[in-house]
Protein backbone atom coordinates (compact mmCIF):
# COMPACT_ATOMS: atom_id res chain seq x y z
CA UNK A 1 0.00 0.00 0.00
CA UNK A 2 2.57 2.50 1.15
CA UNK A 3 4.65 1.92 -1.94
CA UNK A 4 2.04 3.20 -4.32
CA UNK A 5 1.92 6.59 -2.67
CA UNK A 6 5.62 7.26 -2.68
CA UNK A 7 7.23 9.69 -5.05
CA UNK A 8 6.43 7.36 -7.94
CA UNK A 9 2.72 7.93 -7.71
CA UNK A 10 2.63 10.99 -9.93
CA UNK A 11 4.54 8.98 -12.49
CA UNK A 12 2.01 6.22 -13.06
CA UNK A 13 -0.11 8.15 -15.51
CA UNK A 14 0.96 7.53 -19.06
CA UNK A 15 3.16 10.18 -20.61
CA UNK A 16 3.96 11.51 -24.03
CA UNK A 17 7.40 10.60 -25.33
CA UNK A 18 9.16 12.98 -27.66
CA UNK A 19 12.31 12.11 -29.55
CA UNK A 20 13.72 15.44 -30.59
CA UNK A 21 16.13 15.23 -33.53
CA UNK A 22 17.70 12.08 -32.15
CA UNK A 23 20.66 10.61 -33.99
CA UNK A 24 22.64 7.46 -33.30
CA UNK A 25 25.89 6.97 -35.11
CA UNK A 26 27.56 3.70 -34.13
CA UNK A 27 31.33 3.96 -34.10
CA UNK A 28 32.86 2.51 -37.24
CA UNK A 29 29.66 2.70 -39.27
CA UNK A 30 29.44 4.81 -42.41
CA UNK A 31 25.93 6.12 -41.90
CA UNK A 32 23.98 6.81 -38.73
CA UNK A 33 21.59 3.98 -37.76
CA UNK A 34 19.04 6.63 -36.74
CA UNK A 35 19.32 10.06 -38.28
CA UNK A 36 17.69 13.19 -36.89
CA UNK A 37 14.57 11.34 -35.80
CA UNK A 38 11.72 13.56 -34.66
CA UNK A 39 8.98 11.40 -33.20
CA UNK A 40 6.09 12.15 -30.89
CA UNK A 41 4.51 9.20 -29.12
CA UNK A 42 1.21 10.35 -27.62
CA UNK A 43 0.36 9.45 -24.02
CA UNK A 44 -1.70 6.30 -23.54
CA UNK A 45 -1.34 5.09 -27.13
CA UNK A 46 0.23 1.98 -28.58
CA UNK A 47 2.70 3.10 -31.23
CA UNK A 48 4.14 0.38 -33.44
CA UNK A 49 7.59 0.75 -35.00
CA UNK A 50 7.64 -1.39 -38.09
CA UNK A 51 10.04 -1.76 -40.98
CA UNK A 52 12.58 -4.06 -42.59
CA UNK A 53 15.34 -5.66 -40.55
CA UNK A 54 18.24 -3.32 -39.79
CA UNK A 55 16.25 -0.12 -40.30
CA UNK A 56 16.93 1.05 -36.75
CA UNK A 57 13.78 0.04 -34.83
CA UNK A 58 15.65 -1.52 -31.93
CA UNK A 59 18.13 1.34 -31.84
CA UNK A 60 15.25 3.83 -31.67
CA UNK A 61 13.53 1.90 -28.89
CA UNK A 62 16.69 1.53 -26.84
CA UNK A 63 17.42 5.22 -27.08
CA UNK A 64 14.10 5.92 -25.37
CA UNK A 65 15.28 4.17 -22.20
CA UNK A 66 18.90 5.05 -22.97
CA UNK A 67 20.15 1.46 -23.14
CA UNK A 68 21.77 3.09 -26.14
CA UNK A 69 22.96 6.64 -25.65
CA UNK A 70 21.98 8.92 -28.53
CA UNK A 71 24.86 10.59 -30.34
CA UNK A 72 22.82 13.78 -30.39
CA UNK A 73 19.29 14.98 -29.78
CA UNK A 74 17.00 15.10 -26.77
CA UNK A 75 14.43 12.76 -25.28
CA UNK A 76 11.43 14.15 -23.41
CA UNK A 77 9.12 12.16 -21.13
CA UNK A 78 6.06 14.33 -20.65
CA UNK A 79 7.57 17.75 -20.06
CA UNK A 80 10.64 16.27 -18.39
CA UNK A 81 13.92 16.16 -20.27
CA UNK A 82 15.37 12.72 -19.52
CA UNK A 83 18.36 12.91 -21.84
CA UNK A 84 20.82 13.43 -18.99
CA UNK A 85 19.01 11.55 -16.24
CA UNK A 86 20.74 8.58 -14.59
CA UNK A 87 20.08 5.73 -17.04
CA UNK A 88 19.33 3.07 -14.43
CA UNK A 89 16.84 5.30 -12.61
CA UNK A 90 15.16 6.19 -15.88
CA UNK A 91 14.85 2.54 -16.87
CA UNK A 92 13.13 1.67 -13.59
CA UNK A 93 10.36 3.98 -14.73
CA UNK A 94 9.99 2.30 -18.10
CA UNK A 95 8.83 -1.26 -18.54
CA UNK A 96 11.00 -3.23 -20.97
CA UNK A 97 9.98 -6.49 -22.61
CA UNK A 98 12.02 -8.49 -25.10
CA UNK A 99 11.63 -11.83 -26.80
CA UNK A 100 10.79 -14.67 -24.38
CA UNK A 101 10.35 -12.01 -21.71
CA UNK A 102 14.07 -11.90 -20.90
CA UNK A 103 13.25 -13.61 -17.61
CA UNK A 104 16.05 -14.44 -15.19
CA UNK A 105 16.19 -18.25 -15.18
CA UNK A 106 17.63 -18.52 -11.67
CA UNK A 107 14.76 -16.60 -10.10
CA UNK A 108 11.16 -17.66 -9.55
CA UNK A 109 8.30 -15.89 -11.28
CA UNK A 110 7.62 -13.91 -8.10
CA UNK A 111 11.27 -12.92 -7.70
CA UNK A 112 11.44 -11.82 -11.33
CA UNK A 113 8.41 -9.58 -10.92
CA UNK A 114 9.65 -8.24 -7.58
CA UNK A 115 12.97 -6.90 -8.87
CA UNK A 116 12.08 -3.35 -9.82
CA UNK A 117 9.70 -2.67 -6.91
CA UNK A 118 12.47 -3.95 -4.60
CA UNK A 119 15.00 -1.58 -6.13
CA UNK A 120 12.50 1.22 -5.67
CA UNK A 121 12.19 0.35 -1.99
CA UNK A 122 8.63 -0.94 -1.87
CA UNK A 123 7.63 -2.79 1.29
CA UNK A 124 7.49 -6.61 1.28
CA UNK A 125 3.71 -6.62 1.66
CA UNK A 126 3.17 -4.16 -1.15
CA UNK A 127 5.41 -6.23 -3.43
CA UNK A 128 3.69 -9.48 -2.57
CA UNK A 129 0.29 -7.97 -3.19
CA UNK A 130 1.46 -6.49 -6.46
CA UNK A 131 2.79 -9.86 -7.68
CA UNK A 132 -0.63 -11.48 -7.22
CA UNK A 133 -2.34 -8.53 -8.86
CA UNK A 134 -0.04 -8.69 -11.89
CA UNK A 135 -0.27 -12.45 -12.32
CA UNK A 136 -4.04 -12.07 -12.29
CA UNK A 137 -3.76 -9.31 -14.86
CA UNK A 138 -1.83 -11.55 -17.25
CA UNK A 139 -4.17 -14.50 -16.60
CA UNK A 140 -1.79 -16.70 -14.61
CA UNK A 141 -3.07 -18.16 -11.35
CA UNK A 142 -0.76 -16.76 -8.63
CA UNK A 143 -1.14 -19.83 -6.43
CA UNK A 144 0.09 -21.99 -9.27
CA UNK A 145 2.78 -19.83 -10.84
CA UNK A 146 4.37 -17.59 -8.18
CA UNK A 147 7.03 -20.08 -7.19
CA UNK A 148 7.78 -21.61 -10.56
CA UNK A 149 11.01 -21.07 -12.41
CA UNK A 150 10.96 -19.77 -15.99
CA UNK A 151 11.99 -23.15 -17.38
CA UNK A 152 8.82 -24.59 -15.85
CA UNK A 153 6.67 -22.30 -18.02
CA UNK A 154 5.62 -22.47 -21.67
CA UNK A 155 6.91 -19.81 -24.07
CA UNK A 156 3.62 -17.95 -23.93
CA UNK A 157 3.55 -18.03 -20.15
CA UNK A 158 7.12 -16.73 -19.96
CA UNK A 159 6.08 -13.87 -22.20
CA UNK A 160 3.16 -13.08 -19.89
CA UNK A 161 5.45 -12.99 -16.89
CA UNK A 162 7.75 -10.71 -18.89
CA UNK A 163 4.86 -8.29 -19.36
CA UNK A 164 3.91 -8.57 -15.68
CA UNK A 165 7.48 -7.81 -14.65
CA UNK A 166 7.60 -4.79 -16.93
CA UNK A 167 4.41 -3.43 -15.40
CA UNK A 168 5.47 -4.18 -11.82
CA UNK A 169 6.35 -0.70 -10.63
CA UNK A 170 3.55 0.96 -12.59
CA UNK A 171 5.76 2.68 -15.13
CA UNK A 172 4.08 5.26 -17.36
CA UNK A 173 5.81 3.77 -20.39
CA UNK A 174 6.19 0.25 -21.74
CA UNK A 175 8.83 -0.56 -24.35
CA UNK A 176 8.51 -3.86 -26.21
CA UNK A 177 11.01 -5.22 -28.75
CA UNK A 178 9.47 -7.96 -30.88
CA UNK A 179 8.12 -9.56 -27.72
CA UNK A 180 5.98 -12.12 -29.51
CA UNK A 181 8.58 -13.04 -32.13
CA UNK A 182 9.52 -16.40 -30.66
CA UNK A 183 6.14 -18.00 -29.96
CA UNK A 184 3.94 -20.07 -32.25
CA UNK A 185 1.25 -18.26 -34.27
CA UNK A 186 -1.68 -19.36 -32.11
CA UNK A 187 0.02 -18.31 -28.88
CA UNK A 188 1.07 -15.06 -30.53
CA UNK A 189 -2.50 -14.26 -31.43
CA UNK A 190 -3.59 -14.97 -27.89
CA UNK A 191 -0.84 -12.79 -26.44
CA UNK A 192 -1.81 -9.97 -28.80
CA UNK A 193 -5.45 -10.16 -27.70
CA UNK A 194 -4.25 -10.23 -24.12
CA UNK A 195 -2.12 -7.13 -24.63
CA UNK A 196 -5.10 -5.26 -26.07
CA UNK A 197 -7.15 -6.21 -23.01
CA UNK A 198 -4.35 -5.28 -20.60
CA UNK A 199 -3.88 -1.94 -22.31
CA UNK A 200 -7.58 -1.20 -21.86
CA UNK A 201 -6.95 -1.60 -18.14
CA UNK A 202 -3.57 0.04 -17.67
CA UNK A 203 -3.55 2.73 -20.40
CA UNK A 204 0.22 2.98 -20.74
CA UNK A 205 2.19 4.70 -23.43
CA UNK A 206 3.48 1.66 -25.33
CA UNK A 207 6.20 1.62 -27.96
CA UNK A 208 6.20 -1.75 -29.68
CA UNK A 209 8.76 -2.89 -32.25
CA UNK A 210 7.74 -5.51 -34.78
CA UNK A 211 8.61 -6.52 -38.30
CA UNK A 212 5.14 -7.99 -38.79
CA UNK A 213 2.83 -5.48 -40.44
CA UNK A 214 -0.29 -7.45 -39.52
CA UNK A 215 0.73 -7.32 -35.88
CA UNK A 216 1.20 -3.57 -36.25
CA UNK A 217 -2.30 -3.17 -37.69
CA UNK A 218 -3.84 -5.32 -35.00
CA UNK A 219 -2.21 -3.71 -31.98
CA UNK A 220 -1.33 -0.19 -33.03
CA UNK A 221 -3.23 3.03 -32.39
CA UNK A 222 -0.53 4.49 -34.59
CA UNK A 223 2.12 2.93 -36.82
CA UNK A 224 5.52 4.30 -37.73
CA UNK A 225 6.76 2.73 -40.95
CA UNK A 226 10.52 2.95 -41.43
CA UNK A 227 12.14 2.55 -44.83
CA UNK A 228 15.30 0.60 -45.63
CA UNK A 229 17.52 3.53 -44.70
CA UNK A 230 15.78 4.15 -41.40
CA UNK A 231 13.81 7.19 -42.54
CA UNK A 232 10.17 7.46 -41.52
CA UNK A 233 8.06 6.74 -44.56
CA UNK A 234 4.67 7.11 -42.92
CA UNK A 235 3.36 7.75 -39.41
CA UNK A 236 -0.35 7.39 -39.13
CA UNK A 237 -3.27 5.35 -37.87
CA UNK A 238 -3.57 1.81 -39.28
CA UNK A 239 -6.83 2.83 -40.98
CA UNK A 240 -5.17 5.67 -42.84
CA UNK A 241 -2.07 3.70 -43.74
CA UNK A 242 -4.22 0.96 -45.22
CA UNK A 243 -6.48 3.36 -47.08
CA UNK A 244 -3.78 5.80 -48.18
CA UNK A 245 -0.31 4.29 -48.24
CA UNK A 246 2.16 7.17 -48.54
CA UNK A 247 4.04 5.59 -51.44
CA UNK A 248 4.87 2.36 -53.20
CA UNK A 249 7.21 1.25 -50.44
CA UNK A 250 4.37 1.34 -47.92
CA UNK A 251 1.97 -0.26 -50.38
CA UNK A 252 4.47 -3.10 -50.89
CA UNK A 253 4.96 -3.38 -47.19
CA UNK A 254 1.23 -3.63 -46.53
CA UNK A 255 1.21 -6.41 -49.04
CA UNK A 256 -1.80 -7.86 -50.78
CA UNK A 257 -5.25 -7.51 -49.33
CA UNK A 258 -5.22 -4.06 -47.77
CA UNK A 259 -9.01 -4.16 -47.99
CA UNK A 260 -9.14 -7.40 -46.04
CA UNK A 261 -6.80 -5.96 -43.43
CA UNK A 262 -9.14 -3.01 -43.00
CA UNK A 263 -11.81 -5.51 -42.08
CA UNK A 264 -9.83 -6.39 -38.98
CA UNK A 265 -10.07 -2.78 -37.86
CA UNK A 266 -13.85 -2.34 -37.99
CA UNK A 267 -16.23 -3.99 -35.53
CA UNK A 268 -19.63 -5.42 -36.27
CA UNK A 269 -21.24 -3.05 -33.74
CA UNK A 270 -19.99 -0.09 -35.78
CA UNK A 271 -21.93 -0.91 -38.94
CA UNK A 272 -25.60 -0.54 -39.83
CA UNK A 273 -27.06 -4.05 -39.51
CA UNK A 274 -30.05 -5.46 -41.41
CA UNK A 275 -33.24 -6.46 -39.62
CA UNK A 276 -34.20 -10.08 -40.28
CA UNK A 277 -37.78 -11.37 -40.06
CA UNK A 278 -38.18 -13.33 -36.81
CA UNK A 279 -40.63 -15.88 -35.50
CA UNK A 280 -41.06 -18.04 -32.40
CA UNK A 281 -41.52 -21.79 -31.95
CA UNK A 282 -45.20 -22.71 -31.86
CA UNK A 283 -46.29 -20.28 -34.57
CA UNK A 284 -48.05 -21.72 -37.65
CA UNK A 285 -45.70 -22.18 -40.60
CA UNK A 286 -48.24 -20.68 -43.00
CA UNK A 287 -48.68 -17.52 -40.88
CA UNK A 288 -44.96 -16.91 -40.74
CA UNK A 289 -44.59 -17.59 -44.47
CA UNK A 290 -47.23 -14.99 -45.16
CA UNK A 291 -45.28 -12.50 -43.09
CA UNK A 292 -42.05 -13.26 -44.90
CA UNK A 293 -43.71 -12.92 -48.26
CA UNK A 294 -44.67 -9.35 -47.46
CA UNK A 295 -40.95 -8.52 -47.36
CA UNK A 296 -38.13 -9.11 -49.79
CA UNK A 297 -36.53 -11.58 -47.35
CA UNK A 298 -36.09 -15.25 -48.19
CA UNK A 299 -35.39 -16.44 -44.66
CA UNK A 300 -36.80 -16.19 -41.18
CA UNK A 301 -34.88 -16.42 -37.92
CA UNK A 302 -36.48 -18.47 -35.19
CA UNK A 303 -35.66 -17.17 -31.71
CA UNK A 304 -36.32 -18.70 -28.31
CA UNK A 305 -38.06 -17.07 -25.37
CA UNK A 306 -35.05 -14.90 -24.63
CA UNK A 307 -34.53 -13.70 -28.16
CA UNK A 308 -31.67 -16.11 -28.88
CA UNK A 309 -31.60 -17.45 -32.45
CA UNK A 310 -32.16 -21.21 -32.63
CA UNK A 311 -32.66 -21.77 -36.36
CA UNK A 312 -32.83 -19.99 -39.67
CA UNK A 313 -35.47 -21.23 -42.14
CA UNK A 314 -35.97 -20.60 -45.85
CA UNK A 315 -39.41 -19.92 -47.44
CA UNK A 316 -39.36 -23.48 -48.78
CA UNK A 317 -38.65 -25.01 -45.39
CA UNK A 318 -41.44 -22.85 -43.91
CA UNK A 319 -43.95 -23.98 -46.49
CA UNK A 320 -43.41 -27.58 -45.41
CA UNK A 321 -43.88 -26.91 -41.70
CA UNK A 322 -47.18 -27.10 -39.93
CA UNK A 323 -45.96 -25.48 -36.70
CA UNK A 324 -42.48 -24.22 -36.01
CA UNK A 325 -40.65 -26.46 -33.56
CA UNK A 326 -38.02 -25.75 -30.96
CA UNK A 327 -35.26 -27.73 -32.61
CA UNK A 328 -31.92 -26.01 -32.49
CA UNK A 329 -29.59 -25.77 -35.46
CA UNK A 330 -26.03 -26.01 -34.09
CA UNK A 331 -24.45 -24.67 -37.27
CA UNK A 332 -25.96 -21.17 -37.30
CA UNK A 333 -23.50 -18.53 -38.54
CA UNK A 334 -23.32 -16.37 -35.39
CA UNK A 335 -21.03 -13.45 -34.65
CA UNK A 336 -20.77 -11.27 -31.57
CA UNK A 337 -21.21 -7.49 -31.77
CA UNK A 338 -17.59 -7.07 -30.69
CA UNK A 339 -16.23 -9.23 -33.53
CA UNK A 340 -14.31 -7.67 -36.37
CA UNK A 341 -15.81 -7.50 -39.85
CA UNK A 342 -13.14 -10.01 -40.76
CA UNK A 343 -14.62 -12.53 -38.30
CA UNK A 344 -18.09 -11.76 -39.66
CA UNK A 345 -16.92 -12.43 -43.19
CA UNK A 346 -15.47 -15.74 -42.04
CA UNK A 347 -18.79 -16.74 -40.51
CA UNK A 348 -20.69 -15.74 -43.67
CA UNK A 349 -18.39 -17.71 -45.91
CA UNK A 350 -18.82 -20.75 -43.68
CA UNK A 351 -22.62 -20.61 -44.01
CA UNK A 352 -24.47 -21.07 -47.30
CA UNK A 353 -26.56 -18.00 -46.76
CA UNK A 354 -24.11 -15.18 -47.46
CA UNK A 355 -25.08 -13.59 -44.18
CA UNK A 356 -24.48 -14.02 -40.45
CA UNK A 357 -26.60 -13.36 -37.38
CA UNK A 358 -25.30 -10.84 -34.87
CA UNK A 359 -25.83 -11.45 -31.17
CA UNK A 360 -25.22 -9.35 -28.08
CA UNK A 361 -23.63 -10.35 -24.80
CA UNK A 362 -26.63 -12.38 -23.66
CA UNK A 363 -26.62 -14.15 -27.05
CA UNK A 364 -29.86 -12.43 -28.13
CA UNK A 365 -30.32 -11.53 -31.79
CA UNK A 366 -29.59 -7.89 -32.59
CA UNK A 367 -29.49 -8.03 -36.39
CA UNK A 368 -28.02 -9.57 -39.45
CA UNK A 369 -24.87 -8.77 -41.41
CA UNK A 370 -24.55 -9.41 -45.15
CA UNK A 371 -21.88 -9.16 -47.85
CA UNK A 372 -23.50 -5.95 -49.06
CA UNK A 373 -23.18 -4.40 -45.62
CA UNK A 374 -19.52 -5.37 -45.39
CA UNK A 375 -18.78 -3.94 -48.83
CA UNK A 376 -20.56 -0.71 -47.98
CA UNK A 377 -18.64 -0.31 -44.77
CA UNK A 378 -15.29 -0.83 -46.51
CA UNK A 379 -16.16 2.00 -48.86
CA UNK A 380 -17.36 4.08 -45.94
CA UNK A 381 -14.09 3.47 -44.07
CA UNK A 382 -12.16 4.71 -47.08
CA UNK A 383 -14.30 7.80 -47.38
CA UNK A 384 -14.00 8.54 -43.64
CA UNK A 385 -10.27 8.32 -43.78
CA UNK A 386 -10.17 10.71 -46.69
CA UNK A 387 -12.34 13.36 -45.06
CA UNK A 388 -11.08 13.08 -41.48
CA UNK A 389 -7.85 15.04 -41.70
CA UNK A 390 -7.20 15.01 -37.98
CA UNK A 391 -3.87 15.78 -36.42
CA UNK A 392 -1.35 12.99 -36.79
CA UNK A 393 1.52 13.22 -34.33
CA UNK A 394 4.89 14.49 -35.50
CA UNK A 395 7.19 11.94 -37.08
CA UNK A 396 9.99 12.92 -39.45
CA UNK A 397 13.66 12.58 -40.05
CA UNK A 398 15.43 15.84 -40.31
CA UNK A 399 18.89 14.40 -40.56
CA UNK A 400 19.25 13.45 -44.18
CA UNK A 401 16.66 15.00 -46.50
CA UNK A 402 18.43 13.44 -49.47
CA UNK A 403 17.48 9.91 -48.42
CA UNK A 404 13.92 10.68 -47.34
CA UNK A 405 12.81 10.19 -50.94
CA UNK A 406 11.80 6.61 -51.49
CA UNK A 407 12.71 5.15 -54.85
CA UNK A 408 9.62 4.13 -56.78
CA UNK A 409 10.43 0.71 -58.05
Amino acid sequence: MSATNTTQSNDQASRTILLDKVTKHYPGQLKPAVDGLMLEIPAGKIVMLVGPSGCGKTTTLKMINRLIEPTSGRIMLGDEDVTDLDGDKLRRRMGYVIQAGGLFPHMTVAANIAIVPKMLGWSKDAISKRIDELLDLVSLDPALYRDRYPKELSGGQQQRVGVARALAAEPPVLLMDEPFGAVDPITRQRLQDELIRIQEEVQKTIVFVTHDFDEAVKLGDLIVIFGEDGQIVQYDSPERILAQPANDFVADFIGAGAGLKQLTLARVRDVQLADPVTASPGEKGADVLARVQQTNHDYVVITDGRGRPISWLSRRQLSRLDTIDKSKNPDLPLVAEGSTLNDALDAMLASRLGAALVTNRSKALVGMITFDIVMKSINQLRADVQTADDESPVGTNTGSPEVSEVPND
Partner: protein
Protein backbone atom coordinates in the same frame (compact mmCIF):
# COMPACT_ATOMS: atom_id res chain seq x y z
CA UNK B 1 50.94 -54.08 10.70
CA UNK B 2 53.77 -51.67 10.82
CA UNK B 3 51.54 -49.17 9.04
CA UNK B 4 48.84 -49.36 11.69
CA UNK B 5 51.25 -48.83 14.54
CA UNK B 6 52.88 -46.00 12.58
CA UNK B 7 49.52 -44.30 12.27
CA UNK B 8 48.60 -44.89 15.90
CA UNK B 9 51.97 -43.75 17.20
CA UNK B 10 51.89 -40.56 15.17
CA UNK B 11 48.16 -39.88 15.11
CA UNK B 12 48.57 -36.41 16.65
CA UNK B 13 51.16 -35.48 14.11
CA UNK B 14 49.07 -36.89 11.25
CA UNK B 15 45.94 -35.06 12.35
CA UNK B 16 47.86 -31.84 12.66
CA UNK B 17 49.51 -32.20 9.24
CA UNK B 18 46.17 -33.11 7.63
CA UNK B 19 44.52 -30.12 9.18
CA UNK B 20 47.32 -27.85 8.02
CA UNK B 21 47.18 -29.34 4.56
CA UNK B 22 43.44 -28.82 4.27
CA UNK B 23 43.70 -25.36 5.70
CA UNK B 24 46.41 -24.38 3.20
CA UNK B 25 44.32 -25.63 0.30
CA UNK B 26 41.04 -24.11 1.46
CA UNK B 27 42.56 -20.73 2.17
CA UNK B 28 44.40 -20.65 -1.13
CA UNK B 29 41.26 -21.79 -2.91
CA UNK B 30 39.18 -19.03 -1.33
CA UNK B 31 41.74 -16.46 -2.32
CA UNK B 32 41.89 -17.97 -5.80
CA UNK B 33 38.11 -17.76 -6.25
CA UNK B 34 38.17 -14.08 -5.35
CA UNK B 35 41.14 -13.33 -7.63
CA UNK B 36 39.73 -15.34 -10.53
CA UNK B 37 36.33 -13.66 -10.32
CA UNK B 38 37.88 -10.21 -10.32
CA UNK B 39 40.09 -11.10 -13.28
CA UNK B 40 37.26 -12.81 -15.13
CA UNK B 41 34.93 -9.83 -14.71
CA UNK B 42 37.69 -7.58 -16.03
CA UNK B 43 38.26 -9.61 -19.19
CA UNK B 44 35.08 -11.48 -20.13
CA UNK B 45 33.56 -8.63 -22.13
CA UNK B 46 36.52 -8.49 -24.47
CA UNK B 47 37.18 -11.42 -26.74
CA UNK B 48 40.84 -10.50 -26.97
CA UNK B 49 41.39 -10.30 -23.23
CA UNK B 50 39.40 -13.50 -22.69
CA UNK B 51 41.67 -15.29 -25.17
CA UNK B 52 44.72 -13.96 -23.34
CA UNK B 53 43.35 -15.15 -19.99
CA UNK B 54 42.58 -18.58 -21.37
CA UNK B 55 46.02 -18.81 -22.96
CA UNK B 56 47.72 -17.90 -19.70
CA UNK B 57 45.67 -20.51 -17.82
CA UNK B 58 46.69 -23.14 -20.30
CA UNK B 59 50.36 -22.20 -20.25
CA UNK B 60 50.37 -21.79 -16.46
CA UNK B 61 49.14 -25.33 -16.01
CA UNK B 62 52.15 -26.68 -17.89
CA UNK B 63 54.63 -25.14 -15.43
CA UNK B 64 55.94 -27.90 -13.14
CA UNK B 65 54.85 -26.95 -9.61
CA UNK B 66 58.12 -28.24 -8.21
CA UNK B 67 60.10 -25.84 -10.38
CA UNK B 68 57.97 -22.87 -9.46
CA UNK B 69 58.37 -23.61 -5.78
CA UNK B 70 62.10 -23.84 -6.14
CA UNK B 71 62.21 -20.53 -7.96
CA UNK B 72 60.24 -18.84 -5.19
CA UNK B 73 62.77 -19.70 -2.49
CA UNK B 74 64.98 -16.80 -3.49
CA UNK B 75 62.37 -14.03 -3.19
CA UNK B 76 60.06 -15.54 -0.54
CA UNK B 77 62.22 -17.86 1.51
CA UNK B 78 60.81 -20.95 3.20
CA UNK B 79 57.57 -21.77 5.00
CA UNK B 80 53.96 -20.78 4.59
CA UNK B 81 54.32 -17.77 2.26
CA UNK B 82 55.83 -19.48 -0.79
CA UNK B 83 53.50 -22.46 -0.25
CA UNK B 84 50.45 -20.23 -0.20
CA UNK B 85 51.64 -18.34 -3.29
CA UNK B 86 52.23 -21.47 -5.32
CA UNK B 87 49.02 -23.20 -4.33
CA UNK B 88 46.99 -20.05 -5.00
CA UNK B 89 48.68 -19.54 -8.36
CA UNK B 90 47.76 -23.00 -9.55
CA UNK B 91 44.30 -22.79 -8.01
CA UNK B 92 43.55 -19.64 -9.97
CA UNK B 93 44.15 -21.23 -13.37
CA UNK B 94 41.16 -23.61 -13.76
CA UNK B 95 38.83 -21.27 -11.89
CA UNK B 96 39.78 -18.33 -14.07
CA UNK B 97 39.28 -20.31 -17.24
CA UNK B 98 35.88 -21.60 -16.15
CA UNK B 99 34.82 -18.18 -14.88
CA UNK B 100 35.62 -16.57 -18.23
CA UNK B 101 33.81 -19.33 -20.10
CA UNK B 102 30.87 -19.23 -17.69
CA UNK B 103 30.45 -15.47 -17.77
CA UNK B 104 30.78 -15.25 -21.56
CA UNK B 105 28.22 -18.02 -21.83
CA UNK B 106 25.49 -16.07 -20.04
CA UNK B 107 22.75 -15.23 -22.54
CA UNK B 108 23.30 -11.64 -23.68
CA UNK B 109 19.56 -11.12 -23.95
CA UNK B 110 19.21 -11.82 -20.22
CA UNK B 111 21.93 -9.34 -19.35
CA UNK B 112 20.32 -6.79 -21.63
CA UNK B 113 16.95 -7.30 -20.06
CA UNK B 114 18.54 -6.79 -16.63
CA UNK B 115 20.01 -3.49 -17.76
CA UNK B 116 16.73 -2.69 -19.50
CA UNK B 117 14.73 -2.78 -16.29
CA UNK B 118 17.24 -0.58 -14.50
CA UNK B 119 19.57 -2.98 -12.70
CA UNK B 120 22.97 -1.25 -12.46
CA UNK B 121 26.16 -2.63 -14.02
CA UNK B 122 27.71 -4.00 -10.79
CA UNK B 123 24.42 -5.30 -9.49
CA UNK B 124 23.81 -7.09 -12.78
CA UNK B 125 27.22 -8.76 -12.45
CA UNK B 126 26.59 -9.90 -8.90
CA UNK B 127 22.91 -10.84 -8.99
CA UNK B 128 22.43 -11.99 -12.58
CA UNK B 129 25.67 -12.93 -14.32
CA UNK B 130 27.50 -14.48 -11.36
CA UNK B 131 24.63 -16.80 -10.30
CA UNK B 132 24.06 -17.86 -13.90
CA UNK B 133 27.77 -18.61 -14.46
CA UNK B 134 28.14 -20.14 -11.00
CA UNK B 135 27.67 -23.83 -11.91
CA UNK B 136 30.53 -23.59 -14.43
CA UNK B 137 32.70 -21.61 -12.01
CA UNK B 138 32.09 -24.12 -9.26
CA UNK B 139 33.19 -26.93 -11.55
CA UNK B 140 36.44 -24.99 -11.97
CA UNK B 141 36.74 -24.75 -8.19
CA UNK B 142 36.36 -28.51 -7.85
CA UNK B 143 39.07 -29.12 -10.44
CA UNK B 144 41.31 -26.65 -8.64
CA UNK B 145 40.66 -28.31 -5.29
CA UNK B 146 41.70 -31.74 -6.60
CA UNK B 147 44.76 -30.36 -8.32
CA UNK B 148 46.02 -28.19 -5.48
CA UNK B 149 45.75 -31.00 -2.94
CA UNK B 150 48.67 -32.62 -4.75
CA UNK B 151 50.52 -29.36 -5.26
CA UNK B 152 50.18 -28.53 -1.56
CA UNK B 153 52.05 -31.77 -0.83
CA UNK B 154 54.93 -30.59 -2.98
CA UNK B 155 55.27 -27.43 -0.91
CA UNK B 156 56.90 -29.51 1.80
CA UNK B 157 59.99 -28.94 -0.29
CA UNK B 158 60.06 -25.37 1.01
CA UNK B 159 59.09 -26.61 4.47
CA UNK B 160 55.46 -25.67 3.91
CA UNK B 161 52.73 -27.06 6.13
CA UNK B 162 50.84 -30.29 5.46
CA UNK B 163 51.10 -33.94 4.59
CA UNK B 164 53.88 -33.41 2.08
CA UNK B 165 56.44 -33.66 4.88
CA UNK B 166 55.55 -37.33 5.39
CA UNK B 167 56.07 -38.02 1.72
CA UNK B 168 59.34 -36.13 1.45
CA UNK B 169 60.86 -37.53 4.61
CA UNK B 170 59.78 -41.03 3.67
CA UNK B 171 61.19 -40.77 0.17
CA UNK B 172 64.49 -39.34 1.35
CA UNK B 173 65.01 -42.29 3.69
CA UNK B 174 63.53 -44.95 1.42
CA UNK B 175 64.45 -48.38 2.70
CA UNK B 176 64.94 -47.01 6.23
CA UNK B 177 62.64 -47.65 9.17
CA UNK B 178 59.06 -46.55 8.60
CA UNK B 179 59.97 -44.80 5.37
CA UNK B 180 57.36 -46.58 3.27
CA UNK B 181 54.73 -46.09 5.95
CA UNK B 182 55.39 -42.35 5.98
CA UNK B 183 54.96 -42.12 2.20
CA UNK B 184 51.75 -44.17 2.28
CA UNK B 185 50.29 -42.06 5.07
CA UNK B 186 51.10 -38.90 3.13
CA UNK B 187 49.64 -40.10 -0.15
CA UNK B 188 46.51 -41.70 1.29
CA UNK B 189 45.96 -38.66 3.49
CA UNK B 190 46.06 -36.34 0.49
CA UNK B 191 43.61 -38.55 -1.41
CA UNK B 192 41.20 -38.68 1.52
CA UNK B 193 41.37 -34.92 2.02
CA UNK B 194 40.71 -34.35 -1.68
CA UNK B 195 37.69 -36.61 -1.47
CA UNK B 196 36.33 -34.85 1.61
CA UNK B 197 36.83 -31.41 0.10
CA UNK B 198 35.12 -32.47 -3.11
CA UNK B 199 32.10 -33.73 -1.18
CA UNK B 200 32.01 -30.41 0.61
CA UNK B 201 32.09 -28.50 -2.68
CA UNK B 202 29.30 -30.65 -4.10
CA UNK B 203 27.31 -29.71 -1.01
CA UNK B 204 28.05 -26.04 -1.62
CA UNK B 205 26.75 -26.48 -5.16
CA UNK B 206 23.52 -27.99 -3.85
CA UNK B 207 23.03 -24.99 -1.60
CA UNK B 208 24.08 -22.24 -3.98
CA UNK B 209 22.95 -23.26 -7.46
CA UNK B 210 19.39 -22.10 -8.10
CA UNK B 211 16.86 -24.82 -8.81
CA UNK B 212 15.92 -22.80 -11.87
CA UNK B 213 19.24 -23.52 -13.59
CA UNK B 214 20.13 -26.91 -12.17
CA UNK B 215 20.53 -29.45 -14.93
CA UNK B 216 18.47 -32.08 -13.17
CA UNK B 217 16.12 -31.45 -10.32
Amino acid sequence: MALLSFVIDRSDQIWFASWQHLSLVVQSLTLAVALSLILAFLVYNSQKLSAVANGLSAVGLTIPSFALIGLLIAPLGFGVTPSMVVVTFFAVLPILRNAVVGLSGVDKAIVESARGIGIGRIRTMLTIELPLAWPVILTGVRISAQMTMGIAAVTAYVLGPGLGSFIFSGLSRLGGANSLEAVVVGVVGVILLAFILDLFLVGIGRLTISRGIRVSN
